[in-house]
């Protein structure tokens, strides 16, 4: 029988099981007596063994069997769940992940499992074993963490746990089919505007009615397609306890890691792009944020540091935060370091607000670490994070208080494919500004504009907001309008609110965002393009990176 057609399914399901194993082991380290978790762990290993055996992947089945045996010994009380058992199980999970990757790539497996199998068979608890939950022991390189895989459908909490979902009510769909669905929906929306544009020219009541109906149907289709693409934040977040555990062990720090909002659902296109940036941020938090136990005790803190990852939905955007209670960052030192490295001039440093100074950590090549470590790399992390967030149409903010910790906030759109945007006009040019990037729009009365030297500003509440002309940024002629008010939208650039003056507001609509591709993708300040109903092409602004 040709089993190749089932290979993809095997790989996909096995990876979900491995993710669950990682999650469950880390949970057991916190509470070794949790019988339900142990049973779940046993069941997941058993599932992998059964699936591998039916696919005739003997070496995978054999290793899974040994892991199952180890868990069974723990389950039956003949072996305590200690650090040694956890390390062996995680090592086995990593090896299984590598073997499954071989299956996926059609590579004949030549991985030697004998050493690990022997160690599993011979494993006995040490007399002076470190109690579960103590993470000071050695050592699982993070690089061994198997590649992230995401479920195609919204995942169930803890695969090994009993689920109320009826399998007959769900179906696995390849993710590229979902991508094509959203693309087709996007093209349909573009064509809807085209038909509406023709309809308004023809002035046909019947056609207008049909357009209204079409709009409703498309809105429904769009909503449903987006729902299908949603995956819970847990799809990536559940990998992080293992990552933090390994990093903490490696750096000899004690860290309590907490995840909130696992159930929050995000577009899979965003989730896929978030995994690496979040790992960068978490690595930085472990390596640079959280102090050593000695430093923490000397500072009057608990020896155990804390990192909290949280996801929440806020209006039409997703907000993800990583907070630590570590040493925090000193804006003055950051500026001094940037000046020393020639990234900014001393005079520029004097003008930076504390928040702007914190954003220096996102400049390529900037690193204030006293020494480069193999955990957080060579200062390229935050730059990569910012680029990834920017590519998703989101924003990155950094808050930090010296001695108390840091908070990195990622603000992201709910979906990257179809967005709401405001079309604005600058001279002959039309561009679209994602609504997520707009704090406020206004027709600003000229008498409310203040001038200081060459700079203009206005007050929004107590806050002075500098005014910048979008025409000037684009190198277009200024309009010199004579009206009583000027159109302004307030957005955020480099952590500071800015009022962008345009020639006119044209209107808000949804856009199917098209990628720019090579070479335009390199052009700063643009995040994509879109086609209007009349066939006109316009660009979507990446406001945060316009200047």
């Amino acid at each position: 029988m040709d089993m190749s057609q089932y290979r993809e399914l095997f790989v996909s399901e096995s990876r979900e099981h491995l993710n669950s194993i990682n999650e469950l082991i880390v949970a057991l380290e916190k509470d070794a007596g949790d019988r339900e978790t142990m049973d779940s762990l046993f069941r997941v290993a058993h599932s992998i063994k059964g699936m591998a055996a039916s696919m005739e992947y003997g070496d995978i089945a054999e290793l899974a069997h040994k892991l199952e045996d180890l868990m069974d010994r723990v389950r039956k009380g003949s072996l305590p769940f200690d650090g040694g058992a956890a390390d062996l199980l995680l090592e086995g999970t990593d090896l299984l992940g590598a073997m499954i990757a071989d299956v996926e790539q059609g590579v004949p497996s030549r991985r030697d499992t004998s050493d690990l199998v022997q160690r599993i068979i011979n494993h006995q608890p040490k007399q002076s074993e470190t109690p579960p939950g103590d993470i000071r022991k050695t050592v699982q390189p993070v690089a061994q963490t198997p590649p992230l895989s995401l479920p195609a459908t919204p995942g169930q909490k803890g695969e090994g746990r009993q689920s109320n979902n009826d399998p007959s009510q769900t179906v696995r769909v390849k993710t590229d089919v979902l991508d094509r669905l959203i693309n087709l929906t996007g093209e349909l929306i573009t064509n809807k505007y085209r038909i509406m544009s023709i309809s308004s020219r023809l002035g046909s009541g019947n056609l207008d009615e049909a357009c209204v109906e079409l709009s409703k149907l498309l809105r429904g289709l769009h909503d449903e397609v987006l729902k299908v693409r949603l995956v819970p934040f847990a799809a990536i977040a559940d990998r992080f306890p293992r990552v933090i555990r390994d990093l903490a062990k490696k750096s000899g720090k004690e860290i309590a890691f907490e995840v909130d909002g696992r159930e929050i659902e995000l577009d899979r296109g965003i989730v896929e792009e978030l995994a690496d940036p979040l790992i960068h941020i978490l690595r930085n938090a472990v390596d640079h944020g959280i102090e050593t136990m000695e430093e923490r005790l000397a500072a009057g803190k608990s020896s155990r540091g804390s990192i909290r990852l949280a996801a929440r939905r806020e209006k039409e955007q997703m907000v993800i935060t990583v907070e630590d209670d570590g040493r925090g960052m000193d804006p003055v030192k950051l500026i001094a370091s940037a000046v020393e490295k020639g990234i900014i001039k001393q005079e520029e440093g004097w003008l930076l607000s504390p928040r702007e100074a914190l954003m220096l950590t996102c400049v390529p090549g900037f690193s204030t670490a006293r020494e480069v470590t193999d955990i957080s790399g060579r200062g390229v992390g935050m730059d990569a994070v910012k680029s990834a967030v920017k590519a998703l149409g989101g924003n990155l903010l950094i808050d930090s208080t010296q001695g108390r910790g840091s908070r990195i906030t990622l603000k992201l759109p709910l979906t990257i494919s179809i967005i709401q945007a405001l079309v604005v006009g600058c001279a002959h040019l039309k561009v679209a500004v994602p609504v997520i990037n707009i704090i406020r729009t206004m027709e600003l009365k000229r008498e409310l504009i203040t001038t200081e030297g060459k700079h203009k500003a206005f007050f929004m509440g107590e806050e002075a907001i500098p005014l910048v002309s979008l025409n000037r940024i684009f190198g277009l002629p200024l309009s010199h309008q004579s009206g009583e008010a000027v159109p302004v939208f307030v957005s955020e650039m480099k952590g500071r609110k800015v009022g962008l003056v345009v020639d006119r507001f044209i209107g808000q609509q949804e856009f199917f965002v098209k990628p720019l591709g090579r070479p335009l993708v390199k052009l700063k300040g643009l995040s994509g393009g879109a086609v209007l109903g009349n066939g006109e092409v316009l660009f979507i602004l990446d406001v945060a990176n316009l200047v």
Partner: protein
């Protein structure tokens, strides 16, 4: 992998000189399409066109080579999307020729964009080095 036996070249005219592209690198030759302005793009970017739903940058090759401005009567060569979302506006298209009809020789002068000379009788056709062209175009962005 393509072989010389199956390779063909698209020959085009640009400011009176003959140039060529490997036909496999060209998705389509189209009449000058409507283009839309690109904010802050260098002058050799005429604009962006909607090519079967893909946003494709239209390059004024004459301007990039400092040889004036594109001719409104020209043709637009849309490159294979796997290479780039780029189309090249040229003065005109001349012919499609098989590789065996020309003698391939090293470029006689280094203008940075010629991969080789294709000699056919008295004609010397410059085979455009697309990789170098793309790099040069990218280098001009955000200048």
């Amino acid at each position: 992998m393509k072989s010389d036996e199956t390779a063909r070249y698209l020959v085009f005219v640009q400011r009176g000189a003959l140039y060529a592209l490997d036909l496999q690198d060209v998705a389509e030759v189209v009449e000058p399409p409507p283009t839309f302005p690109i904010p802050r793009a260098p002058a050799h970017f005429i604009g962006v066109m909607n090519f079967h739903g893909n946003l494709t940058t239209v390059l004024d090759l004459a301007n990039l080579q400092d040889r004036g401005k594109f001719s409104t009567e020209g043709k637009v060569l849309v490159l294979d999307g796997r290479l780039a979302n780029l189309a090249i506006w040229v003065d005109g298209v001349s012919a499609i020729i098989p590789a065996e009809a020309v003698q391939r020789e090293p470029a006689d002068e280094d203008d940075g964009l010629t991969a080789a000379l294709l000699c056919s009788g008295a004609d010397k056709i410059r085979l455009l080095a697309l990789d170098r062209l793309l790099r040069r175009v990218e280098e001009t962005i955000n200048d």
